[in-house]
Amino acid sequence: MIETRKLTCIDCPKGCQLSIETDNGKVMGISGNQCKKGEEYAKQEIENPMRILTTTVIAEGLPLKMIPVRTSGPIPKAKLKEAIEAARKTKITKPVQAETIITKNFLDLGVNLIATREILA
C-alpha cells in the first residue's frame, strides 16, 4: 500500500517538514528536508522509530525513594510501554552511581537499564 506521511525532522532545531512516500511501511522517497540527516531521520522514524526511555525505579533502604534511570541506548518506540512496566517492577537496594547497570540487557533489547545519579547508603 502506498501512502504519503508527514513528519517533522527533529535532528536540529530547524524542524524541516518532511513528506515521505511509503510502500508497506518502507520509505520510497523523501522531500522537504534541507540536509542528508533528514533522510536518515525519516527512514529510521518510519521504519523503526526508536526512543530512549527515562523513568525512575524504586529504592529501598537508601536516602532517596526514587532513583532516576535510563536505557543506555534507544529502544523501539513500540516497546516503551513494556519497558516502563518492567522498570516499575524494578527495585534498587544497594548504593548506585551514575551509569551503574540496574538491569543488564533490559528486556533482551540489547541495551542496559542504568542509573543516572549517585546515591550512597
Binding site: I10, R51, T54, T56, M66, P68, R70, L80, R117, E118
Partner: protein, 318 residues
C-alpha cells in the same frame, strides 16, 4: 563572625559551575550553600534527556549533567577549597556581604569578600495569568508535579490538562502518560509552541495528545478537587471567541506558563541586576537562572563559569 573569600548561594548547575570556575581561577576559600540535601538543584528532577549537548557534547539526563559537576567538586581535595554545606538555607544578604543562613540546628552569619547568587528561578502560577474559577485541590505548577512524580514517586492526577506548551509542559505530558495518567490536552494561547520540535514529536505526538493552539483556559471548575476546565479559542489579539467554548473533564490542571528569576535576596541587599552576572554592588554577582531565565542548562553552565571568573578577578583586585 566566620570569614570566607567567596560564598556561592545555590548548588544547582549555576552555583556548581561558578564555584568550580572560581576555584580554577585561583580562589581557594569557597563556601557553597545548598538548601536541599543533595547538590544538583532542579536538574535532579529533570530525569529526561536533552542536557549537555553543548557543554559535554553528549545527550545526558538532568541528573547525569549534575553528576558530572558534582564529581568535579568532590575531586577537589584541598581542605575547604570548596566547602559544600547542604540543607543550608540563606535567609539574609546584606550590602556589606554578610550572609545569614540556617541549617538544622544552626543559625550562621558569615562575612564574605565576594558572593555569587545562583538561586535559580521559580514558576509563574495560575494566579499570575490569572485564571478565574474555583480553587480546588489538583492545580499544580509543572515543576511541582515533576518533583512529585520523579522525586517522591507520587502520581498527582489521572486525567490531566496542561496549560502552556513550553518544554516543561511537553515533558510533563509524556511523563504523566508514561506513569499511566491520561493527558487530555495541552492548551497553548500562542499560535505555536515555544518548546523544541523534538519535544513536540516525542512528548505529545508520540502519545496522540491533543495540542490546542490559540486556546486558553477560561475557568477552572471543581468544588473539592478539579472537575473540569472551560477552554475557549482566542483570536490573534488573544481575545476570546465565546462561541468556541467547551469543557474538558479532568482531575488535574498543570500550569506551565514560564519562569521568573528568584532575586529576592539580591533585592534585600539593595542591589540590582546589571550586565552579565553583575549587580549594582561590586563583589555581589548573580548567575544562572537567577540572573535571567535560560533555555538550556548548558548555557547556564557556560555563563556561570564566567561568573566564577569574574568573582576571582574581583577578589584579586580588592
Amino acid at each position: 563572625m566566620i570569614k570566607r573569600e567567596l560564598i556561592v548561594v545555590g548548588g544547582g548547575p549555576a552555583g556548581m559551575a561558578a564555584a568550580l570556575s572560581a576555584y580554577e581561577n585561583g580562589v581557594k576559600d569557597i563556601l557553597l550553600l545548598e538548601r536541599d540535601q543533595f547538590l544538583g538543584g532542579i536538574l535532579n528532577q529533570c530525569i529526561h534527556t536533552g542536557f549537555g549537548l553543548q557543554h559535554f557534547k553528549e545527550d545526558l539526563t538532568g541528573p547525569e549533567f549534575a553528576d558530572r559537576l558534582i564529581i568535579k567538586i568532590k575531586a577537589i581535595k584541598a581542605d575547604k577549597a570548596i566547602e559544600v554545606s547542604l540543607q543550608s538555607f540563606v535567609v539574609k544578604l546584606t550590602d556589606r556581604k554578610v550572609v545569614t543562613y540556617l541549617k538544622p540546628g544552626k543559625f550562621e552569619e558569615v562575612q564574605a569578600k565576594a558572593i555569587i547568587m545562583a538561586t535559580g528561578c521559580r514558576e509563574r502560577t495560575r494566579e499570575m495569568i490569572p485564571i478565574p474559577g474555583d480553587r480546588p485541590a489538583g492545580i499544580f505548577s509543572a515543576g511541582l508535579a515533576q518533583k512529585m512524580i520523579n522525586i517522591e514517586g507520587w502520581l498527582p492526577g489521572k486525567e490531566v490538562v496542561i496549560i502552556g506548551s513550553g518544554d516543561i509542559g511537553l515533558i510533563m505530558a509524556r511523563r504523566f502518560t508514561l506513569e499511566g495518567a491520561k493527558v487530555k490536552a495541552v492548551v497553548e494561547i500562542q499560535k505555536e509552541s515555544r518548546g523544541l520540535v523534538r519535544n513536540i514529536v516525542q512528548c505529545v505526538q508520540d502519545f496522540d495528545i491533543p495540542l490546542y493552539f490559540r486556546h486558553k483556559i477560561k475557568r477552572i471548575i471543581g468544588h473539592d478537587r478539579v472537575e473540569k476546565v472551560e477552554v475557549v479559542a482566542v483570536d490573534e489579539n488573544l481575545n476570546e471567541k465565546p462561541e468556541t467554548a467547551f469543557d474538558i473533564t479532568c482531575d488535574t490542571v498543570l500550569v506551565s506558563v514560564g519562569l521568573i528569576p528568584e532575586n529576592e535576596l539580591i533585592e534585600m541587599a539593595g542591589a540590582e541586576i546589571e550586565d552579565l552576572n553583575t549587580t549594582s554592588i561590586p563583589g555581589i554577582f548573580s548567575c544562572g537562572n537567577s540572573y535571567k531565565v535560560y533555555d538550556l542548562a548548558d548555557s547556564v553552565t557556560r555563563d556561570s563559569e564566567k561568573a566564577g571568573k569574574q568573582a576571582a578577578e574581583y577578589l584579586k583586585r580588592i
